[in-house]
Subunit: 152 residues, 2 copies
Amino acid sequence: MPNEAAEALLQLSTTFAVATKLLDSRIGGSHGLSYAEVRLLGALASAPSGKMRPGELALDLGLAASGVTRAVLPLEKRGIVSREPDPRDARAGQVALTGAGKRLVEETALTVDESASALMRRLSVGQIRQLERLLAEIDASPAKSGGSRKLS
Amino acid sequence: MPNEAAEALLQLSTTFAVATKLLDSRIGGSHGLSYAEVRLLGALASAPSGKMRPGELALDLGLAASGVTRAVLPLEKRGIVSREPDPRDARAGQVALTGAGKRLVEETALTVDESASALMRRLSVGQIRQLERLLAEIDASPAKSGGSRKLS
DNA sequence: GACAATTACTTGATCGCTCAAGTATATTGC
DNA sequence: GCAATATACTTGAGCGATCAAGTAATTGTC
């Protein structure tokens, strides 16, 4: 029979497809955001300084740098995030939540929490924590093409 | 702090992004297939009759019907799968692995297993099994609560 | 048996993301 | 202190997926 890792990976793909479809429809319906956008805004909201550079966002979200550029554009047009030049490095930028963005994140958080809880309603809190922990272990693999590196 | 389910979902998204990136680069490099294609071929290979209708594939893979149509096309051109009309229902088709397709699946399986194992090398077999089990629980949720219905 | 409704799939338009290449700034070596 | 190289991001082209609309065959109703 097939090996466990490959099986688990298949399951991961399916579960991700199911989960993002649910989240997209719920959040999209309520607040006009995709789950990918919610993740981006959430990363900003949880940054200590409230700002992040595109490159940091890319690492955090598992996106290519160009993906961040393109994801930020419509959010900026809608006044949800703003861009400022980085004073220490003129190549880089800084992306920050605007006031409206902060409000939107707070509003959205409730929907996200409810939807995520609904998705995982068959799991106990302990199981959810363990799931997160196991996934994080996979993530931590700096295997060739996909790993996470630090920038400073 | 945010609720556990939402946190776990974030982790799920990141891990999925990392994992498919690795798999795509490994399998693509060795056999010229994407991981999405491997999943499709795997579904066919594990079908008892060896054939599946596009609609079944869509359900199985968490894809839209049109996605299956478009995924099958290049595989057909390369002679990896074939399409036949369904004798019982002329609207439907049947997608089957060709001989070359079967060979390709077998070859690829090894690379997939190796890559998946590499990704999860920090986890024990027991942990991998548990991960799969936890993910499957989420999947089994046809969650529907709280009110954002779609209007169309 | 004919007409409407449903089902199975395909096609058109579009979106989000990727890689490759380009631009601008920083850093390093001599 | 100036060229060579590296870094941070943006732009262009393409791919894979989606939804909406279209086509063709089946089923259901009278």
